[in-house]
């Protein structure tokens, strides 16, 4: 086997995917990736490549998601499901602390164990790598590190996948976050199905990735295949019908706090919080204490929370954001404007989940142009 380095491109056959899986297992990783459950794509433990939604595609639009069979046997021929990878690093529900009252009247505090198996994430898309990078900034690079996130993010293996098709909901191309992956992975796959062969063009993204590939029977990549891979990704970018223009974005939102479009979207918004819950970068949570009837034992839990509830903006004396429109405006203005001031990056990666999983199909790629006073061309 040749020595591989970062940036090297090699070729695997579809059958080699099982060997790749086995090697990751031998190295102690738990493989997680997309599976089909309940009519959706659910990120879950993979028993092998056979658990991937092979031969399926996804059809996503504002307020609608469906799976449909493909005519080929692609392993990654769909786009994004409802869930993002953040659930593995920033769990929706997490026990933090246990407290017991001792017989001498004192209290005993015990932090809950946050040990987690090292994960191999299989099938991470470019926009999702971008989202992980945003959450890294929030949880790791600020003045306060989140120890739970840090521990879970410490050891893992990422197999990224270049998107060769786009959903109607995708707009990563306009934000430069996809559809091709550029950084933040150990191996990146481009799935190519020709008349005779089902291949993966593999880009090595780390020394960890190179070491794994060295144990696999790979071939060097040839130019025609490279070109085909580039064309597929380019085509996935060109086929995107949605876009989000970031020109003057913070200023636009800060200057248009009273724009009539907020009333318009406020009348449609359900304040259900689904957009924030499916957003791969949203990070708000609340702490809940559970105390037993005897008052002897307590637990502290961390749960995902959303800025769309009345309670979220409660401070002494009342709630700040009473009107439904003010809550949606808060979410979008934070995501697309204040986020930049706060974390130096946009809070949106163009994955489209917020518009797909909005029960009433509210679409930020239509709301922002409306605030700009533009008509949306669809």
């Amino acid at each position: 086997m040749s020595n591989l380095h970062m940036g090297d491109e090699v070729v695997l056959t579809a059958a080699d995917l099982a060997t790749l899986y086995d090697i990751l297992m031998q190295q102690g990783f738990q493989a997680v990736g997309p599976t089909i459950q309940d009519g959706g794509l659910v990120l879950d433990v993979l028993g092998g490549p056979a658990d991937l939604p092979q031969g399926w595609t996804s059809e996503a639009e504002a307020g609608s998601f469906r799976l449909a069979p493909r005519t080929d046997a692609a392993f990654f021929g769909y786009n994004l499901g409802m869930e993002s990878w953040k659930k593995f690093f920033y769990p929706p529900r997490l026990a933090l602390l246990q407290v017991q009252s001792r017989d001498d009247g004192g209290l005993h505090f015990q932090a809950c164990s946050q040990e987690a198996l090292p994960l191999a994430l299989i099938g991470v898309r470019a926009c999702e790598l971008a989202a992980l990078a945003v959450q890294d900034r929030i949880f790791l690079e600020g003045p306060y590190q989140d120890p739970v996130y840090a521990e879970r993010r410490r050891a893992h293996f990422i197999i990224a996948v270049n998107c060769t098709e786009a959903d109607a909901a995708c707009f990563c191309a306009s934000l430069g976050t996809g559809p091709g992956v550029t950084a933040g992975f150990d191996l990146a796959l481009t799935e190519i199905i020709n008349d005779r062969e089902h291949l993966f063009l593999v880009t090595v993204g780390s020394s960890q990735g190179a070491a794994v590939m060295a144990n696999l029977p790979h071939r060097p990549a040839w130019e025609e295949l490279r070109q085909q891979a580039r064309d597929l990704v380019r085509q996935a970018a060109r086929s995107q019908s949605r876009a989000l223009s970031t020109a003057d974005l913070p200023r636009l939102l800060y200057d248009n706090y009273s724009h009539p479009q907020w009333d318009d979207v406020g009348a449609r918004c359900l304040n259900c919080g689904n957009c924030a819950l499916v957003c791969p970068t949203c990070f708000c949570h609340r702490l809940e204490d559970a105390i037993d009837l005897e008052g002897r034992e307590a637990e502290r839990w961390r749960l995902w929370d959303v800025c769309h509830t009345l309670q979220f903006s409660y401070i002494h004396g009342g709630c700040i954001r009473v009107s439904p429109k003010s809550r949606y405006r808060q979410w979008l203005t934070h995501k697309l404007a204040a986020w930049i001031d706060q974390f130096g990056t946009l809070g949106c990666v163009g994955c489209g989940r917020c518009l797909v999983w909005c029960p009433v199909a509210i679409d930020l790629t239509a709301e922002i142009p409306a605030i700009r006073g533009q008509q949306v061309k669809m």
Partner: protein
């Protein structure tokens, strides 16, 4: 021995299901019995202690002139009054009669209509007396009830979420039935508390916990029309256990 807080449980027009949730606390029930004096709870015990009571849990809606009088007596004897369930909080399934003329039904149901004395409408407890807490649900969630009682005993605010059912769905990882299957779901306008029971089993939410704060029923209805529901379907969607809760009542009337 210091006196334990006195708990009373009252029944009005209801199915007893919410009172059962109290008995259903099982393991916690004995511990609870050591923390409060169960002074009035006919479903559990024929022992009746006189008032006043520290906490009155009220199940059921007001449907008769006698009950309209009795609930005022409950209030007078109680330091705190909390409604338990959709009947007491919103009028219950029996409030479906509020949309028609109850006199049309009496001869159909009863052999001797002349014995029946009933009010025109089934109304929530809060229409008759000031209420301190409301626990929604058909039936209530026993864990919510336990949290409420614990909070009272521990002198803290009960942790009762005001968000939509969607938050529980997403925390559980349920695939949204409305988006992925086109199934009408009241989850986005419904008060949390059930743990997203129905969507967990691939059913749309029936709204058992009633409207959440700022429930945007009009927008949800518009989307339901888009999914193929008729006006009649939308009326039926909103007219169940919380039909007379104001946002649901208004929404069903708008589609009549």
């Amino acid at each position: 021995m210091s006196a334990l807080p006195k708990l009373a449980v009252w029944k009005f027009a209801s199915c007893d299901g919410c009172q059962l949730s109290l008995l259903d606390l099982e393991d916690h029930l004995l511990a609870l019995a050591g923390k409060v004096t169960i002074a009035y709870f006919l479903e559990a015990s024929s022992t009746v202690l006189p008032g006043p009571y520290d906490v009155s849990l009220v199940e059921g809606s007001i449907t008769t002139p006698e009950d309209a009088h009795r609930i005022k007596q409950v209030r007078r004897q109680s330091r705190l009054v909390a409604t338990i369930g959709a009947c007491a909080t919103a009028g219950g399934i029996q409030a479906l009669r509020n949309f028609t003329d109850v006199r049309d039904y009496i001869p159909v149901v009863y052999a001797h209509p002349e014995y029946i004395k009933t009010l025109d409408k089934s109304t929530p407890i809060s229409d008759h007396i000031p209420v301190d807490f409301q626990l929604p649900g058909c039936p209530i969630n026993k864990n919510q009830l336990l949290e409420f009682i614990k909070a009272l005993l521990q002198g803290r605010t009960p942790r009762l979420a005001d968000e939509s059912v969607c938050l529980a769905c997403k925390i559980k990882g349920n695939i949204c039935v409305m988006v992925a299957e086109g199934v009408p779901c009241l989850g986005p306008v419904t008060h949390a508390g059930c743990g997203a029971l129905c969507p967990t089993y691939h059913r749309g939410c029936y709204g058992c916990y009633g409207p959440k704060e700022a429930a945007n029923t009009a927008s949800l209805s518009a989307r339901c029309r888009h999914l193929g529901l008729s006006d009649q379907d939308i009326v039926r969607l909103f007219r169940t256990f919380n039909a007379y809760a104001e946002p649901f009542r208004q929404e069903s009337l708008a589609h009549e």
